[in-house]
Amino acid sequence: MDYCPHTPQDIHQMQAVIGAGSIEELFADIPQKFRIRQMPGIPASLSEQETLGLMQAIAAKNRMPRVTLTGAGAYVHYIPAVVGHIIGRAEFYTAYTPYQAEISQGILQAIYEYQTMIAHLTGTEIANASMYDGASAMAEAAVLCAKMSNRSRIVVARSVHPQYRQVLQTYSWANGYTITEMPYTATGQLDLAALQNALDDSVAAVVVQSPNFFGCIEEITPIADAAHKNGALLIAGFTDGTSLGVLKPAGASGADFVVGEGQSFGNPVNYGGPYLGIFAAREKFLRRIPGRLAGATVDKNGRRGFVLTLQTREQHIRREKATSNICSNEALCALAAGVYLAALGKNLGKLAALNIYKTQYLKNNLLKLAGWKEVFSAPVYNEFALRCPDAQAVNEKLKAAGMIGAYDLQKDYPALENTLLFCATEMLSKDDMDRVAEIIS
């Protein structure tokens, strides 16, 4: 199947207008020695029906889990039916970036509304139109802080998602910045004393996450105070966005930037992507932050309208002086998040509460098992770490029962032997959770 509508007669007529004797003539600028006549290793075309059959067969090789007990940066939530219907509208789905505002008012207004909801949720004044994912949003915030301050060190809590820290490391290395990692305490939270010791005038930013990778809620205010006292900025991430339905956002506790993964808001886990990088900040950074921004203005008749604004921050104008090179973002995922948040409204608080109920139930169930212990004492949202007699055996049993088990923390934290990070969302029923405990025991 191909999607070229030309008939042989069309092609003939067009060649005549161009004055080309053959299609081949159009490729004459490619030196002959580099021309290929076929595509090595590329299979023949398929009909639509064959294509579907092929792809269904590939999808069928995946095993769909009955239950997913891992969060760790990607969260299985129920997605209201309206979300798919709205984002599937071709006017949104098949559009490019809204460069021409007059025929892009739909997405520009939707993004403006999204920015507003995100700023409110994160306790900040502004948010951009999105970044690639939570990790790259965090890394870009750190690079921005270093560039603004002419400082070269980033201090990051080890309780931040390990893969986020790796991305932060990659971006920092490329820019010539260094990373210092801060330990966590027995509560599962950042070691504040160690942080205070580590801070000096070389530190551009302190990076934490709350809830952090262990699920624990961090004490943001003293961290922000420590950072600010040393002239550093605070970048605060979060894990599951739904936590913002109930938790005080870091922006309300002094964070300068709030960044994180917005996948939870109406986007499927998709085996890793596409996701939604949330990037929110204090108003004073408005002209410095990366990424696109929708802004309200008026047309020449005084009607309200929206444009991509402050584009001089961006690479297509500032080129090598830009603080980021991002162009395409995750607009459709941001649209999904906007629809999701507008659909839930205040029910986001109820949903977050339900996540907490489920989490406590699962945790209490598991703690009844012989040899299972809590690892950290700080309060959690919907993830928690438990030590057990044999983490690998637990996950093998769950796998055999068709479940995706918990995240094995020892992979990233060698000291956390036989420690599993569980996640419970509204998708787990009481029966599921009872069965999990049964399978393990």
Binding site: R287, Q311, T312, I317, R318, K321
Partner: protein
């Protein structure tokens, strides 16, 4: 149409003006021709007071909707004052580049810096040439 270039000051080839206050300080801005080229100015990034700039170094940034331009220090010195009003009303540069739209006042580090700058007549000639 550009306003005429006042004769009470000197000009750089990068379209900045310098008005020597005669007390070792000078006011600096961009010319009316420069603001016309830039079109509507939407933001001015001012230098911090106390910043030392060498002649020819970027000192401030002016942004229009579609462009970003450095303002180069036409003379070397220390920034002793900036036109804070521009932070809220950058359009002052469009309206009155030579007076209300001044950008910064510098304490000159070397009076010799003024010598190679153009007078109004020479600057008139320069922009006439650029327009062609």
């Amino acid at each position: 149409m550009s306003k005429s270039n006042p004769t009470d000051r000197l000009y750089s080839k990068d379209h900045e003006w310098v008005k020597d206050n005669g007390d070792g300080t000078a006011a600096v801005g961009i010319t009316d021709y420069a603001q016309e080229m830039l079109t509507d100015i939407v933001f001015v990034e001012l230098p911090p007071i106390g910043k030392k700039v060498a002649k020819g170094e970027p000192m401030a940034v002016v942004e229009s909707v579609k462009s970003v331009s450095d303002v180069f220090a036409p003379v070397g010195g220390e920034v002793i004052d900036v036109n804070k009003i521009l932070e809220e009303t950058p359009e002052l540069i469009n309206q009155d580049a030579f007076h209300e739209g001044w950008i910064a006042r510098l304490k000159l580090s070397n009076a010799e810096d003024l010598k190679p700058l153009l007078n109004a007549a020479a600057y008139d000639a320069l922009i006439k040439e650029e327009k062609h």
